[in-house]
């Protein structure tokens, strides 16, 4: 799987002259087809206490595409990801200002129903974290929080979520066994199924393969490309080759600022910004 993804036809990858929005020297190639923007950030700043983690982030994440966020450790890509489903809220001293919207809904508003937001935006974490329950109950946990189901509908929901995560064939005979009996790669796919089951529009993935072996990594990367027709996917990765394999658009973060954002092809073959070029060619990391 070394060839770049060829399924989606070229999209909105005009190389416009550099547009600085907020942070100095940010090169952002905007998504031209504005109806197909899922998430929009404009001048987003965020702090943990007195430490500023994000400085003036402005970017657009298109619908039903895979967008990769890359950059060295501590550059703010995970922080940015977690503002999308407000998972920074429990962290003491975490606050943000600026604009961050999902299909026009203000994500930073105090009165936002965070519970409902997290139904629309699912998250898969770096280390698979299935609950100490059966496979069935893991997948059914999320939907049961938000709705009450007839048994047949719930069964259908669980089956299809597991199919969508390419896990059904492997577990269909042991749905009631403990989820902890699965291998690492299977557990991560279970976490994906769990996130899918609540019916989100967006899937956020925070380094989903970094705790997995190469074979599981490959199967999850393939799954991500297959899921993209149904979901908007934002993936944080420190593995540039993975970003190149899996995503349509890439955003390069550095020390809390967005340095460059554009189509994956262009970022990796012909970046505008020198810093971007240094990073993707491995001169620092």
């Amino acid at each position: 799987m070394n060839t770049p993804p060829n399924a989606p036809p070229p999209r909105n990858i005009d190389i416009k002259p550099p547009m600085t929005m907020g942070a100095p020297a940010a090169v952002v190639a905007p998504v031209a087809d504005t109806e197909h923007i899922a998430i929009r950030a404009h001048g987003l700043d965020s702090w943990y206490g007195s430490v500023q983690a994000l400085k003036g982030i402005s970017l657009e994440i298109p619908k039903c595409r895979v967008t990769a966020l890359i950059g060295p450790s501590g550059c703010g890509k995970s922080t940015f990801l977690r503002w999308i489903n407000r998972m920074n809220d429990p962290i003491p001293g975490a606050r943000a200002s600026g604009t961050l919207t999902l299909h026009g809904d203000d994500l930073l508003s105090r009165s936002l129903d965070v519970v409902e937001l997290r139904r629309r935006v699912g998250m898969v974490f770096q280390k698979p974290n299935p609950f100490t329950k059966s496979i069935y109950d893991n997948v059914a946990f999320g939907p049961r929080l938000h709705r009450s189901f007839r048994r047949t509908d719930l069964d259908e929901l669980v089956e299809n979520s597991l199919r969508a995560a390419a896990l059904w064939d492997e577990v269909k005979d042991r749905l009631n066994s403990s989820a902890l009996g699965l291998s690492g790669g299977q557990q991560q796919r279970l976490c994906i199924a769990r996130a899918i089951a609540v019916g989100p529009e967006v899937l956020l993935m925070d380094e989903p393969c970094s705790a997995l072996d190469p074979k599981s990594t490959a199967s999850i990367e393939q799954l991500i490309r297959e899921l993209e027709t149904s979901y908007t996917i934002v993936i944080v990765t420190h593995n540039m080759q993975q970003a190149a394999r899996v995503s349509d658009r890439t955003a390069f973060f550095f020390e809390g600022t967005l340095v460059e954002c554009g189509s994956t092809d262009r970022i990796f073959t012909n970046p505008v910004n020198k810093q971007t070029e240094d990073y993707v060619s491995g001169r620092f990391g």
Partner: protein, 331 residues
Amino acid sequence: MHSLGARTQSSTRTRTPGEIVAAATPTSQAGRRIVDRAFLGVCIAFTALAVLLLVVLVVSIWQDGHARLSWQFLSSFASRKTEEAGVRAPLWGSIWVCVICAVAALPIGVGTAIYLEEFSKRSRFRSFIQLNIANLAGVPSIVYGILGLTAFARAFGTANSESPITFGQPESFFYLQLPFGHGVLAGGLTLMLVVLPIVIVSSQEALRTVPGSLRTASLALGATQWQTTWNITLPASIPMIMTGGILAMSRAIGEAAPILVLGVPLFIRSTPTNLMSDFTVLPLQIYNWSMRQQSGFHELAAAGIIVLLAVLLTLNALAVIIRHRLQRANG
């Protein structure tokens, strides 16, 4: 001046660390080894002493008391005649009081632990509560007896003890009297105060063992904090919470001072029938018997102790079994 010059002269050449070490008086290596061995001997001796004390304790009590153990001992009431006396009243009193204590202490204790661990952020308020609980753990149990006496038995003097407000018939199980007087309910609630810090601390530790990633995963699916706690965190920590609860019960069963302060009658010849019944507990009965100078009561006290220790052993064995069962079920 002279001494200064002399000092300056000798210190024109400084010594290396190696020379300083070589010039110092060596400690005898053999001496060090002797000290090391001797200390090990002291350690083993003291530890053996601790074990020996336990053995002497158990053996002497068994010797004094085992002859009085019998089914009749368990089913008779106390009596002035030592041959006829038994532990029926205090045994049942202890069981009643402990059950009431558990029913009261577990929800409040676990609830407090959940609040502190899951629902509150690091703040001065939370530190204040934690500090308070740590201090309550050090309060002598007799002071809790005073608190129980005033708050439960006397209801702070609001109601008249001579003519209490009553609900229901004294003969039935559903009989309530305000203030509670020195019935089993007052006893159980007083003991609840004694064991509450233990339950809270052990429940907090149980909750802390659940990995944070599970809570994060649950929140990310759109669960509220309570849904996360009830569905994910609590079930995972139930084995340890149960163990802590049984440990607290072991403490409660052995307490006599708070019950003493409540003012229970010395001589009880009945087992409790409802929450307001008079009662006594095993430790108190043992205390009463130990105080008597007449021969025969000495053996009764020892036999009572054996019964009490047997109950404790059963409780602890229960704790171990429950913990193993639940840990296996959790996978």
